[in-house]
């Protein structure tokens, strides 16, 4: 049995999750301070990947990073090619999982008592210190929940991933693309194994989320 899809899925989801963590909290932090109208528009744009079919996201990614597109060509000249490479999966997963992190982080930040930040500033603490040592710990539960959700979403990504990196056994195959390919070639047994693996991971993730939510209360 070739375990490559499991390893590939985990690294794609793991790295995507780290990227989404920083991108999500940055976006959540900066949009919170914007005027209402701009915030509304930006919020819609940043949430779009969550409501669009993942294949549409994949379509846009190909439109931007395709080999015959300006940006794609530019990246290729420095040796980076997202199309048909395993790390292209990170891009696909990150784009689709981003809104989940962004929205949960925003919810957590909105619940943050601004007086804590005000108090820190009047005490002479730097804004960076306040962000990482006061705001983030206070919003810890929400942000952790957001990360777990993003990780789960990234792990289960199929649409955008198959559009961008396709399915090459041992190179770009992930769990979800493998399930589809095995089913397509009538390998029901093989598909079932990957389905079980996927279900086990998802169950664990949901248990973790529930645990975090209970702690929050």
């Amino acid at each position: 049995m070739d375990w490559y899809p499991l390893w590939n899925s985990l690294r794609i989801a793991g790295i995507a999750c780290v990227i989404v963590f920083f991108a999500g909290i940055c976006a959540a932090y900066y949009t919170a301070g914007l005027p209402r109208v701009i915030k509304g528009v930006l919020d819609a744009v940043l949430t779009l990947p969550m409501v669009l079919p993942p294949t549409v996201c994949g379509y846009f990614l190909l439109l931007i990073f395709g080999g015959n597109r300006p940006l794609g060509r530019l990246l290729q000249s420095v040796g980076i090619q997202f199309v048909m490479r395993w790390y292209g999966g990170i891009l696909a997963a990150a784009v689709v999982a981003f809104p989940l992190m962004y929205r949960t982080a925003r919810g957590a930040f909105e619940g943050f008592d601004v007086n804590l930040a005000h108090a820190g500033r009047t005490l002479g603490l730097s804004d960076t210190y306040i962000f990482w040592r006061i705001r983030m710990p206070a919003c810890r539960q929400g942000i952790l929940a957001g990360m777990v959700l993003s990780f789960a979403r990234a792990l289960g990504e199929y649409g955008a991933t198959s559009m961008l990196i396709g399915y090459t056994p041992g190179r770009t195959a992930t769990i979800s693309t493998t399930v589809y390919q095995l089913w397509r070639i009538n390998d029901e047994h093989g598909a079932a194994i990957w389905v079980l693996v996927n279900m086990m991971i998802s169950t664990v993730i949901l248990l973790v989320v529930n645990l975090l939510e209970r702690k929050r209360r």
Binding site: D113, L116, R121, T122, G124, R133, P137, A138, R140
Partner: protein, 356 residues
């Protein structure tokens, strides 16, 4: 020296327009909730930016819109005590204090000074109300602020704890020599803790004076109400200089030291009335309130009488007059009142005159 504030800021419902100078050390901002008191403090601390104006602390310019100066809260060195203390929940008492002190040695000194020994490793959620306040005070003072802002520190506390925390705060304010601004909606609290009181109403200061002066002779209706005056009537000036109190239905003598003022309201405090025995058929003396009892309310240590002047039954909502006295005193007056022979005199000196 002191804190000089002169700022304007457009808010959703009104314009904040505040100017004061804390030369007399402890200044109280007294006003109903939502009148802009806390916003004023936030502007001084620098976490909110006024639209225009100046804030000067001990000759140091913190904010000056004309010169385009706006120091960050970190640079201002202004201590801020929040209503709920805003202790960092993820840090221990000691870590919280280090945030202000910046080094361990100084933090330990303040832990000792505020009797927090043994609680260093506790988290804010494990502290009692008093310990929380001491931690917040220690954290604020360890940063050695040039001025201190106190934002309704005792709201949402029960009475016995309130009295104890007030004493601790008083002690701190005695030891601290720098400008202090104390925000509150409680007149008694403000009276006990401050030297000068500024009455705030819809974003502006309607009256500012030394506290004894303010409580003796408030100059505006808002200030009078805030100082706890329960009896107020609209007044109309008569040709002979006397005033007709339209809500009470009596004539008031000309104000004692009147200038060219034209007063619109008069008031007196509930305990200032003097009961007078008057036979039913005697001639009605000018300025005498003939008591028609509406209700008696028994308070913890006193009794509150609601009545109106004879003939003013339900005339206006201000017609109801409140008289407060000791329970024993009322026991003696009750029978006289029943016979309809009780009247009240308002001493000239007790009358509060308001222009607006």
């Amino acid at each position: 020296m002191g804190l000089i504030v002169d700022i304007k800021k457009k808010l959703e419902n009104f314009e904040l327009k505040v100017a004061f100078n804390t030369a007399g050390r402890v200044l109280g901002l007294l006003g109903a909730s939502g009148c802009g008191k806390s916003m004023t403090l936030r502007c001084i601390a620098g976490v909110e930016k006024p639209d225009e104006g100046k804030i000067i602390l001990n000759d140091r310019v913190l904010f000056d819109s004309a010169a385009n100066i706006c120091l960050s809260p970190q640079e201002r060195k202004v201590g801020y005590l929040f209503q709920d203390y805003a202790l960092f929940p993820n840090m221990t008492v000691k870590q919280n204090i280090i945030c202000g002190a910046k080094n361990e040695k100084k933090a330990e000194e303040y832990i000792k000074r505020y009797a927090l020994n043994g609680l260093e490793k506790h988290y804010p959620s494990q502290l009692s109300g008093g310990q929380k306040q001491r931690t917040a005070l220690a954290r604020m003072l360890a940063a050695e602020p040039d001025a201190i802002l106190l934002d309704e520190p005792f709201t949402a506390l029960d009475n016995s704890l309130k009295a104890r925390l007030e004493r601790e705060l008083m002690k701190m304010m005695e030891e601290y020599d720098g400008p202090v601004v104390f925000v509150s909606h409680d007149r008694n609290e403000s009276y006990r803790l401050t030297d000068i009181i500024a009455v705030m109403e819809n974003g502006h200061i309607s009256d500012i004076s030394e506290k004894h002066e303010l409580f003796r002779a408030p100059r505006t209706l808002a200030a009078t109400l805030l100082t706890g005056c329960k009896n107020i009537s609209r007044v109309k000036r008569l040709p002979d200089g006397k005033y007709e109190a339209t809500d009470w239905g009596i004539i008031l003598p000309a104000p004692l030291n009147t200038g060219d003022c034209d007063y619109h309201y008069a008031g007196f405090r509930a305990h200032d009335l003097i009961p007078v025995l008057q036979p039913e058929n005697a001639e009605v003396r000018e300025g005498l309130l003939r008591c028609e009892l509406v209700r008696e309310i028994e308070d913890t240590f006193s009794i509150v009488i609601h009545f109106h002047n004879k003939g003013c039954d339900g005339k206006t909502e201000y017609s109801l007059i409140t008289y407060e006295t000791g329970k024993k005193d009322w026991d003696e007056l009750r029978e006289i009142c029943k016979d309809g022979k009780l009247s009240f005199e308002i001493p000239d000196k007790s009358l509060i005159w308001m222009e607006s």
